[in-house]
């Protein structure tokens, strides 16, 4: 029998789990509905981090948000990485397992960053085949997240939203919609975020991410190191109205504030979700 809180992730706000907050969370579990973590942080064979995750998992529904699978790479899938991921999935029974619509390695060289794919029919066929392969091995659907990008490939012929919609249609995966990424790309490249969101089928959106960015010259950089900006909160309201209430994560990875700040953000997201729940009833 599972020792975990086996409830699915509710359409409420959760927070990203970072080791910096372990002690605080164990001492006084915060009033949030769920937590999300990078599985790669627990790829070790043992030690304190895994034990802490066990304790937190006993109290909260959990989601795994992978950053190392390099789904769009033209190298073969890293089966050693998938094996480690599968071991963790068996142990912690996350409700969601997500990855990024990106690549981060080629020729055996890994950049451990999320690099953009050209949105072409070749990329589409390639990434769909890779998602199929991963979903078959993990025996579960993946959620695929849209990324920020700091360039546009010359040969991109398909708008990003339409590309993602086609990935969903072909593979049956879900979408993890990162609204901050949409906003950052929109500002950096003069795009219309609503156009992107309008291309996404509502039933495909299983989770939403909210985060903050930093400025680098005239560009916005997706650092996950600042509060969610008012414009992204506005997009969130628009998205919840269009897609309905969805599990929503406050994602904060750098320049980490006290846990209470993440909880305040989660409360703000819950208020928007609550408004949508109320309107629907």
């Amino acid at each position: 029998m599972s020792m975990h809180n086996s409830a699915p992730i509710p359409a409420q706000a959760g927070i990203g789990l970072r080791s910096h907050h372990f002690r605080e969370i164990l001492d006084a579990p915060p009033p949030v509905a769920w937590m999300e973590t990078h599985p790669e942080n627990y790829f070790g064979d043992g030690g304190a981090s895994l034990r802490v995750l066990e304790r937190i998992r006993a109290q909260y529904p959990l989601s795994f948000h992978g950053v190392g699978l390099s789904l769009g790479s033209t190298d073969p899938i890293d089966h050693a990485h998938l094996r480690k991921l599968n071991v963790l999935i068996d142990r912690f029974e996350p409700a969601f397992v997500s990855e990024h619509l990106s690549w981060s390695s080629v020729g055996g060289r890994f950049f451990n960053d999320l690099l953009p794919l050209p949105y072409t029919s070749e990329s589409l066929d390639h990434v769909c085949a890779r998602i199929d392969e991963v979903q078959t091995i993990l025996k579960r659907p993946l959620l695929i997240e849209n990324i920020t990008r700091y360039l546009t490939w010359q040969d991109s012929t398909v708008p990003e939203g339409a590309f993602m919609a086609e990935v969903v249609r072909t593979t049956g995966c879900g979408i993890l919609l990162d609204l901050n990424n949409i906003y950052v790309n929109a500002v950096n490249f003069g795009l219309d975020p609503i156009e992107f969101l309008s291309a996404i089928p509502a039933q495909a959106v299983w989770e939403i991410h909210l985060a903050g960015f930093d400025h680098f010259g005239r560009a916005l950089i997706d650092t996950h190191g600042q509060p969610v900006c008012p414009e992204v909160w506005g997009l969130y309201q628009w998205a919840i109205h269009r897609f309905g209430p969805r599990p929503t994560l406050i994602e904060w990875d750098t320049n980490l504030p006290p846990l209470s700040v993440l909880v305040e953000h989660a409360t703000q997201a819950d208020a928007i979700l609550g408004g949508c729940h109320a309107a629907a009833s």
Partner: protein, 258 residues
């Protein structure tokens, strides 16, 4: 039109070598190829500097941010990451520091920190049971062998590098002083994990040799003989109590035993 693989390889070359000509044609002319590749290069390099800093916090504190950043950037060029698991990045740093002829203390400190990094996430093992300890007391020593804990590492250094490691721990009082240069003095340590926290403990030379011998599956009788040859007055019970307390031994096995 470049194929996806060609685009990825050209972009990767741009990131590692800082060149952008091969990938420039694939980037939309609305964005400067030079600026785009440079931005990604900067972001990725920062990721790697941070990853190395997490793995080598003491070395980073010891040499300071500026020097550590230079080391990290040189390391990134020589050893690009070969895994999506960043815990593995940095395993060649001790060798890299030796090759670039940095002061020997830095390579030895890096070797100690990599051992700490491995121990931190090594497999768990239950403590020795009362029955196993009883076995140790009653069995024929020539039939007894030991397993060292996966979360333990034996290391020896040409000087007491662990003093620097200990002095720069966050909880160490700031007035703790280590005189440099360190004396030339062979130093043995064992890295273990107690209560999830990594600890570095200096060992007597004979204790170190015996643990190394035990790790090779040599039986307890032979280990004791080696001890007596090294030190006629060697206190074997004291040695066993020390290593059991440190949690270095995770298993006692008796050939043909129960």
């Amino acid at each position: 039109m470049l194929q996806l693989r060609e685009i990825q390889q050209a972009f990767a070359d741009g990131i590692i070598k800082g060149t952008y000509h091969d990938v420039a044609g694939a980037i939309h002319p609305g964005a400067s190829a030079l600026r785009s590749v440079a931005l990604y290069r900067r972001l990725i390099r920062n990721n790697y500097v941070q990853a190395l800093k997490i793995t080598y916090p003491i070395l980073s504190r010891f040499v300071g941010a500026r020097y550590f950043g230079l080391v990290a950037r040189g390391y990134f060029k020589k050893y690009p990451s070969s895994s999506g698991d960043l815990f593995l990045y940095g395993r060649h740093l001790p060798a890299f520091l030796t090759v670039v002829q940095s002061p020997p203390l830095l390579a030895e400190l890096a070797r100690l920190e990599w051992a700490c990094h491995e121990v931190y996430q090594a497999a768990d093992s239950p403590p020795l049971s009362h029955d196993q300890l009883q076995t140790l007391a009653s069995a024929d020593p020539s039939q007894v062998t030991f397993h060292l804990h996966a979360a333990s590492r034996l290391l020896s250094f040409p000087f007491p590098v662990h003093r620097v490691w200990l002095a720069l721990q966050p909880e160490t009082p700031t007035d703790e002083v280590v005189d440099l240069p360190l004396p030339e003095q062979e130093t043995c340590v064992v890295v273990t994990r107690g209560d999830g926290k990594v600890q570095v403990t200096p060992l007597a030379r004979t204790d170190y040799l015996l643990l190394e011998t035990m790790s090779q599956g040599v039986d307890a009788a032979a280990v004791e003989r080696i001890a007596i040859e090294a030190e006629p007055e060697f206190d074997f019970p004291r040695f066993l109590a020390t290593v059991l307390n440190l949690g270095v031994i995770s298993g006692v096995f008796v050939e043909n035993g129960p």
